[in-house]
Every structure is written in structure tokens, then in C-alpha cells.
């Protein structure tokens, strides 16, 4: 099959789970209830970081334990799960997490954005707009947007409570004073619902506008730091900026080398050690879709179908 047009049911059925002795989706029901309560609170207070009793997971902290706990708490047997890291479905972290849920929950998985009901992500938002029927779950390493400016949790909590966010703009001011522009390029701070300043997790600022009034529910899980936060559907999300130095996203001088997209986030691929490079979509599903629709980028010397979704594997 030269492309996956349907969702792939996982080979093992629920009776032959590899993770014997563990509950559906690994976490016990009590823990799931605790996490769901935290999620409900987070949805009720958009952008507010809700502390929760994060568990040790069979994956190291910093590798998506927060996202996994959130996913494990909201996933049901009918869900279709997509997992991406850096926009791609086949990077090691994404593969590991997808296999974890295939093994412990036996759910269907997919690489197609529009066929997933749950998408767990590290560092990207898919290019294809999400819908009301989807939930986007972010893996968050450092949930506190003020942390780099103020290391103390006691102080940052007070700053959030009292909406003392002047210092956030101070850091942007410093960028402009020294470099003539805001240099923050990822994990670019946003203000949610005109109230809480929030870290969007280390997505490139290119993705920030997608968060604004997104129809899908956005959930954020930080396992090591023990925080959950959320942006409910259709909530205002504004990237911090100045009137005379408005927020801007990255642009590229050339289109995707494979699918010729000019509207997607591009990764730089080094092709030799003499400065040769090409730019390709970071969202692998988006890129494959475009190629299948007949778009061909300048990096494809042969017929466009030669490189398809499975990356040219025989």
C-alpha cells in the first residue's frame, strides 16, 4: 500500500495486551479521575496551571510524561490516536508513545490529522486546521512562562494571581533594545482569554496563531513539573507584543522542496557537508497529502509519486 488511507487498527486486540497486569491506558482509574478533575479545573480557568499529583510513568520525565497522563485520562476505546514529535509521526518519541497506547489501550492509531480524535504532540501544531471533534494534547517540559525571569515558584504563583506581568514585556523590551526585534522564536508567551500568561510549550512561534480561537480543545500536560493547563475551544490566545513591534511569524524564501507548500513550517535538511541544504515540511502528514494531491516541489527531480508517504521505503 503506497499510502495509509484508513486508520490502522492495532494488531493486538485488548485480550492480548502486552502490558499484562496494567489497567486500560496504563493508569489506574483513581489516578485518571484525579487527572480529569485537574483537566476540568484547567478548562474552567483557561491558561491557569493546575497542580496535580503527577505519577511516575514508564517513560522518563521530560519525554512526554505529562502529555501521556493527560492522554491516558481522556482516551477511550473508540478513540483514534495520532502522535507527533516535531510535526512528524515517525520520530522516535512519537513512535514510542504511539506504541505505548497501542499496547496498553489497544486503540486505533493513525498518521492522518483529520482522522484522529486525539492528537498528542511535542513541539508542533498540525498544519491542517483542527475541528471541534478533536483534542490536541501538548507535552510540556516547562509550564511556567515566567520561570526564566523568576526562578521561584512561590513568587511566580503570586505574579499570576495578581496579574503582574510587566516583567514579561520587560524581556521583550530588552530584545528590541538590544537586537532591534523580539528574538524569542519558540515557546513564545501568550495571554489566554485576556487573563493568564501561558507557555505554549516549545512550539515554534509560527504555530502560535493556530492556538487562537481553535475549535479543538487544547490540553497541556507537564509531568515533571506536575501541572496541567488548558485552552478551551474558541478561546482568545494572543501572543505578547508591542503595538509598534507586532508579533510576527517565521517565513522562508523557498517553498517545501517536496510538496512546494509555501504556508507550512519548514525544517532544514542538510544534504552534504558543503552547505547544501533543502527545506521540507515539518508536518509529515501535510506534506504527504499535498504530494498525493499532485503537488511537486523543486527538490523532487523525478516524478512526484516516487517519494510518497512511507518515505521511499521499498
Amino acid at each position: 500500500m503506497n499510502r495509509m488511507t484508513t486508520t490502522t487498527p492495532v494488531a493486538s486486540s485488548s485480550t492480548t495486551l502486552g502490558a499484562e497486569g496494567y489497567n486500560f491506558a496504563y493508569l489506574d482509574e483513581q489516578t485518571k479521575r484525579m487527572i480529569r478533575r485537574a483537566i476540568l479545573k484547567a478548562v474552567a480557568i483557561p491558561g491557569y496551571q493546575v497542580p496535580f499529583g503527577s505519577r511516575e510513568m514508564p517513560l522518563p520525565y521530560g519525554w512526554g510524561t505529562g502529555g501521556i497522563q493527560v492522554t491516558a485520562s481522556v482516551i477511550g476505546p473508540q478513540d483514534v490516536l495520532k502522535v507527533i514529535d516535531q510535526g512528524a509521526d515517525d520520530t522516535t518519541n512519537a513512535v514510542n508513545i504511539r506504541r505505548f497506547f497501542a499496547k496498553t489501550a489497544g486503540v486505533a492509531t493513525t498518521e492522518k490529522t483529520d482522522q484522529a480524535s486525539l492528537i498528542q504532540t511535542r513541539h508542533r501544531i498540525p498544519e491542517k486546521p483542527l475541528t471541534e471533534n478533536q483534542i490536541l494534547i501538548y507535552q510540556v517540559p516547562l509550564p511556567e512562562p515566567l520561570r526564566k525571569l523568576e526562578p521561584r515558584e512561590t513568587e511566580t504563583r503570586t505574579m499570576h494571581a495578581l496579574e503582574e506581568y510587566g516583567v514579561m514585556h520587560v524581556s521583550l523590551y530588552e530584545d528590541i533594545a538590544h537586537f532591534g526585534r523580539i528574538t524569542k522564536s519558540y515557546d513564545y508567551p501568550v495571554r489566554v482569554n485576556d487573563r493568564y500568561v501561558m507557555a505554549p510549550s516549545p512550539i515554534p512561534k509560527f504555530d502560535n496563531p493556530k492556538m487562537d480561537r481553535m475549535p479543538a480543545l487544547q490540553l497541556f500536560g507537564a509531568g515533571r513539573e506536575k501541572r496541567i493547563y488548558a485552552v478551551p475551544p474558541y478561546t482568545k490566545v494572543k501572543s505578547l507584543d508591542f503595538e509598534d513591534h507586532p508579533f510576527e511569524i517565521e517565513t522562508w524564501d523557498e517553498p517545501c522542496a517536496l510538496c512546494a507548500a509555501t504556508d507550512s513550517y519548514l525544517d532544514e535538511v542538510v544534504t552534504d557537508d558543503k552547505g547544501g541544504r533543502m527545506f521540507v515540511c515539518s508536518d509529515s502528514d501535510y506534506c504527504a497529502d499535498r504530494r498525493d494531491a499532485g503537488h511537486a516541489g523543486p527538490g523532487l527531480p523525478t516524478a512526484p509519486k516516487a517519494i510518497s508517504r512511507d518515505g521511499g521505503k521499498p
Binding site: 495578581l162 503582574e164 510587566g166 520587560v170 523590551y173 533594545a177 508591542f242
Partner: protein, 260 residues
């Protein structure tokens, strides 16, 4: 003065204890707009405790502090929620600390230090913020060519000027100063005091200056309170208190410190 003299600040029966120990005891006074009050006493006399309590940094054990806010209502400083109190402290009030490190953000530029208060109250135009920062740095006689430098690269006197500019940018009505000139060279002290005196009179600021240096209060303050052992032992017009001290302690202070 033609405006009706309603007090800006009314302190009544203010007492603060640290466990068994008295910090300050039963202090009462009023301050009027545009007035400079000096508080003097040796270390341990309770003047810094008093300043911390009045300026919203430490809730006193007893007593009340009423402040006439801009909307002309008297508010109890510690009756306000923390959010409103902190807002008051960073807009309507200013605090100049003895140690510039306590009053400045040392890891950001001079310009950002001055601009921070503006950003905190919602100003979002970089050009305007920068322009106002330049204006205030000029008014405290700092070189605006250095506005993108870090505070640590400035001299002690310049750091104090920067603190002052940072506080005045939101046009406060009441400024607290805790030993603003101690630790500076005499000549630097004199120039700083000159500057403060000029700003206070042109801006019509009310100011409370805590110091152990009678020279400072002689130059700046209209009225003077002398503290000893946590209590106010003498209170009156500055010249009167210094030229004709009534309390034995004030007499000692004046004769031992002030060169006649």
C-alpha cells in the same frame, strides 16, 4: 496653598512587634500632599520598621494607615487586597531603597528598569515607553547613551538616580526613601540631594525620608520625627526641631552629629 488641606496619609496608633521585641510603638501622624517628612534615629530606633509598615511591605501588629487614593477615597492600606495594594505601590507610590539592588532589576538595562512600571500598567508601545524612559533618565541627569547598559555598570550615585527615575515614571504622589544617600561619597551625596530636592518641589511630591543623617533631613524635609526605642520622642518643623531640640535624646543627637 489654596487647595483644602486634606491629609494624604494618616497613620494612627501604629505598633509592630517582632515576637516579644518592639519594632515601633504607637506612632501617629499625618502627611499632606507635597510635604516632605524626615524620620531620624539611630539604628534600632524603629525607623526602618515604621517605613516598611507604612509603605505596604510589612503588615503592622496594630494600628491603621489610611491613604487618600486618587479617586479621593480614604483606603486602609492593609485592608486592600494584595492585588490592589501592590498596584498602589507600583503606580501611586514609589520606594527608593538604600541598596539599589533591592530597588532595581539588575539583569535588565537601565531603560527597561524605567519602562517596567509603564509596561506593568499596560503600556504597549515600545517607542512611547522608550521615549518616556529617555525623558526620565534625562531628568535625573543620566546619560541616555547608556540606557541600554545594565545597572551593575553604573556607579552608586547613578544607580540611585536610576531608582528614582524608575519610581517617578508613573508620576507617583508619595515616595518613600530609605537612607537614599548612605554609602555614597559626600560630593555625590550633595548632588543627589540637590536633584531630589528639585524634583520634589517641581513635581509636588509627598515624601517620607528615613535616615540617620541629620544633614539629609535638614536639606530635604519640612517636618521631622525623631525616634528612639521604637517611639517618636519629638515631632515638629525641621528647623525648629534641629535648632531648638526639646527632648534630651534629640539634643544629644543634634550636638553629637550636626556640626554647628
Amino acid at each position: 496653598m489654596t487647595a483644602p488641606r486634606t491629609p494624604l496619609l494618616t497613620v494612627d496608633g501604629l505598633t509592630h512587634r517582632y515576637g516579644e521585641r518592639i519594632g515601633c510603638s504607637d506612632v501617629s501622624f499625618q502627611m499632606f500632599p507635597g510635604e516632605v517628612l524626615g524620620i531620624v534615629g539611630e539604628s534600632g530606633s524603629g525607623k526602618t520598621t515604621l517605613l516598611k509598615c507604612i509603605s505596604g511591605q510589612m503588615e503592622p501588629t496594630e494600628g491603621s494607615i489610611l491613604y487618600a487614593s486618587r479617586d479621593a477615597r480614604d483606603v486602609e492600606v492593609y485592608g486592600l487586597g494584595e492585588a490592589r495594594r501592590r498596584m498602589l505601590m507600583r503606580t501611586d507610590w514609589g520606594i527608593v531603597y538604600q541598596n539599589a539592588r533591592d530597588g532595581l532589576r539588575m539583569k535588565v538595562s537601565a531603560g527597561a528598569n524605567v519602562g517596567e512600571r509603564l509596561m506593568a500598567i499596560g503600556e504597549r508601545n515600545y517607542g512611547d515607553i522608550r521615549h518616556q524612559a529617555e525623558d526620565w533618565l534625562t531628568r535625573v541627569e543620566m546619560d541616555i547613551a547608556r540606557m541600554d547598559d545594565l545597572p551593575a555598570t553604573f556607579s552608586g550615585g547613578m544607580q540611585q538616580r536610576l531608582q528614582i527615575a524608575r519610581n517617578l515614571v508613573t508620576k507617583p504622589r508619595l515616595v518613600f526613601m530609605d537612607e537614599p544617600t548612605s554609602g555614597l561619597d559626600v560630593s555625590v551625596q550633595a548632588r543627589l540631594l540637590d536633584l531630589v530636592r528639585g524634583l520634589v518641589s517641581t513635581l509636588g511630591l509627598a515624601c517620607i525620608v528615613v535616615t540617620h543623617d541629620l544633614g539629609v533631613v535638614r536639606l530635604l524635609s519640612h517636618r521631622l520625627m525623631v525616634m528612639k526605642g521604637g517611639r517618636v520622642v519629638e515631632h515638629g518643623l525641621t528647623d525648629q526641631v534641629l535648632d531648638d531640640p526639646q527632648h534630651a535624646y534629640t539634643q544629644l543627637l543634634v550636638s553629637s552629629i550636626l556640626p554647628v
